[in-house]
């Protein structure tokens, strides 16, 4: 069991009366890689700035190692930040940028001021250059570095101070896909090697899932779900999380009894329990959890309306009674063909209704092309009747 390092307790942040963080409760363990994930403007940077000390919450408390630090200024916190746009000092070279924090006078445990020796500074800067793979760049001017190199300088500049916690605000935002992937691995490696707590901000859900021990999904200033990447993906708490993390079909259902949910008047086995009898629920079905079968063997029957080749699989949009599903399959099903589908009980995730219900999950607007076909499709009412007769 790792110990708790940082705790945000009921933190609320308002700018001119406009609430941007609403009752944030969050604790972060020592040596943990925690990611704040959410759409633009949801309050990720604000949360990070509260931890870094650049903003004081309007109400609520911040604890570090059990001590309340609401009014401790940034330069007195054992936390360093990698800023969204690096914020490297343009008047200093790579070496001096990294040495910046080391050259400032420190205060030891007894409150005595002291300075690091030139030799120790040099040793630590060189060691850090090694870690971020920038040996030989120490005399370079910041303007003579590529985006990826600047980003590594920013990381080195923060890490060289050996903070307990490193805050990273979308540090890979400006990099191309390839470099991004490399740097993701690099960061994860550094975090594990140096045993530092990382609090990482991103709006890229793949990045969050790939790197984190814990993911915090945020929207509109509120935490929607906290969990391991697997939890978040497999057991989304509400329609927002389900939609934001990966692709999902989100349907209205009724929980008939434990392990049985009704969708489109059809009963499906599932693994969820603990709902009221006949409680209306949201049901999430991931596109890769749907098996396509011949029409007469399917639990549901529908018409293919669009197929897009995606390399590994086809993105197939299927119309079931007027609701469009996204199905990812390696079988090619031509447009307008009738198909059936089967879903295993562990492919069905039942969630409580929330104010996000009904906002996501229908793939009607998936492509422009689809709009036209939709007008010509069979009347859902008519088809529904036909199905009931069969039953």
């Amino acid at each position: 069991m790792s110990k708790e390092l940082i705790r945000l307790s009921n933190c609320t942040m308002a700018f001119d009366g406009e609430v941007v963080l609403d009752g944030i409760n969050l604790y972060i363990n020592d040596k943990e890689f925690l990611t704040l994930l959410g759409p633009s403007g949801c309050g990720k940077t604000t949360t990070l700035r509260i931890i870094g000390g650049f903003q004081t919450p309007t109400s609520g408390d911040v604890f570090f190692d059990g001590v309340r630090i609401n009014s401790v200024p940034p330069h007195k916190r054992a936390v360093n930040t990698v800023f969204q746009k690096y914020a490297l000092f343009p008047h200093l070279n790579v070496y001096e940028n990294i040495a910046f924090g080391l050259r400032l006078a420190k205060t030891d445990k007894d409150g005595k001021r002291y300075k690091l020796s030139e030799k120790e500074i040099d040793q630590r800067v060189m060691e850090m250059l090694e870690v971020v793979n920038l040996r030989g760049f120490e005399k370079r001017h910041i303007s003579q570095l590529s985006g990826g190199q600047q980003q590594r300088v920013a990381i080195a500049r923060a890490l060289v101070n050996r903070p307990k916690v490193l805050l990273l605000d979308e540090p890979l935002g400006a990099l191309d896909l390839k470099l991004r992937k490399d740097m993701q691995n690099e960061l994860k490696r550094i975090q594990q090697a140096m045993e530092i707590t990382f609090i990482y901000v991103t709006h890229d859900q793949e990045e969050a899932l790939a790197m984190s021990d814990t993911v915090v999904v945020m929207d509109a200033g509120k935490i929607q779900q906290i969990g391991t990447p697997e939890d978040i993906y497999n057991e989304p708490k509400n329609a927002f999380v389900a939609d934001f993390i990966g692709e999902s079909n989100i349907l209205d259902g009724i929980m008939r009894e434990d392990g049985v949910v009704e969708i489109f008047n059809r009963k499906f086995k599932c693994l969820d329990s603990g709902f009221e009898k006949d409680e209306p629920v949201d049901v999430v079905i991931r596109p890769e959890d749907v098996d396509i079968v011949p029409e007469n063997e399917g639990q549901l029957k529908g018409t293919v309306t669009s197929v897009t080749f995606k390399g590994v699989h086809y993105d197939t949009i299927v119309d079931f009674y007027g609701f469009k599903w996204l199905i990812q399959t390696t079988d090619f099903c031509p447009v307008d063909s009738r198909i059936g589908i089967k879903i295993d009980p562990d492919g069905i995730h039942v969630m409580k209704k929330s104010h996000y219900s009904g906002m996501f999950g229908d793939y009607s607007s998936y492509s422009e092309e689809y709009e036209e076909i939709s007008d010509a499709s069979i009347d859902p009412e008519e088809e529904e009747q036909e199905d009931e007769n069969e039953e």
Binding site: P74, H75, A87, F89, P90, H91, K106
Partner: protein, 284 residues
Amino acid sequence: MKNKISWLAAPYVIWMALIVVAPIIMVVIYAFTTAQGGITLDNFARMGTYTVIFTRSFQLALVATIICLLLGYPLAYVMAKEGPGFQRIAMVLIMLPMWVNFLLRTYAWMAILENNGILNNFFEAIGLFDLINGIFGTDLTYFRMIRTQGAVVLGMVYNYLPFMVLPIYSVIIKLDHSLLEAARDLGANSALVFRKVIFPLSLPGVLSGVTMVFVPSVSTFAISRMLGGNNQMLLGNLIEQQFLGGAYNPYLGSAIALVMMVIVIVCMVVMNHFGEGEEQAVML
């Protein structure tokens, strides 16, 4: 000229050629010739006579520049840090005198600093002279303010201070705020943030401020004539005399102007070289 659009600069180029380059060439030619048309270095040989004036000009300009810097930097810094309300008011106060003609402003100072001017009358009225005379047993009826070096420096500072404040202000206000946060994040308190980040990054503004105060100060003739009187003659006055005054000798005047120009240019080059690293940094 590489493309068509650069022809749009033609009027300006012609203008520059006529009123900047041509006069400079004429100054150079005059400086090396005699009234009879022969080539000579005599004009420069006579320069030694004016060493006092050269020294005084550069000294006073230097003092004025330093005072402008000491007053202007904190003002520019506070303006950049304060809210937009303060910025607007401060900006209007700085610009306001510049809407009045330069000569009128300086005349106003004459009226203030005269021996029987506004300031001395004011001291008289509040009984300052009586007080001093009472204590020291002196016979003071006014402070001699006008026709001193102090008055000349005051005139320079008053007239050129905005040229120091504005470039520094515009550099500081454009500083990336996240750089300051980064410095604080790395452990710097406010004083260190200023010393290690804000000040070095504002040097380009300081350099252009210094240039814009020093150059007109060193060559001024109006301020020194109005506030300095005959005994505080500066290079500007000396040159003016050679062209317009009783000592009519445009050849000597040109030589003095040329020497002054060269000294100023050397000063600027040295200074800009010193600030080169920062200049580059700000262009990032």
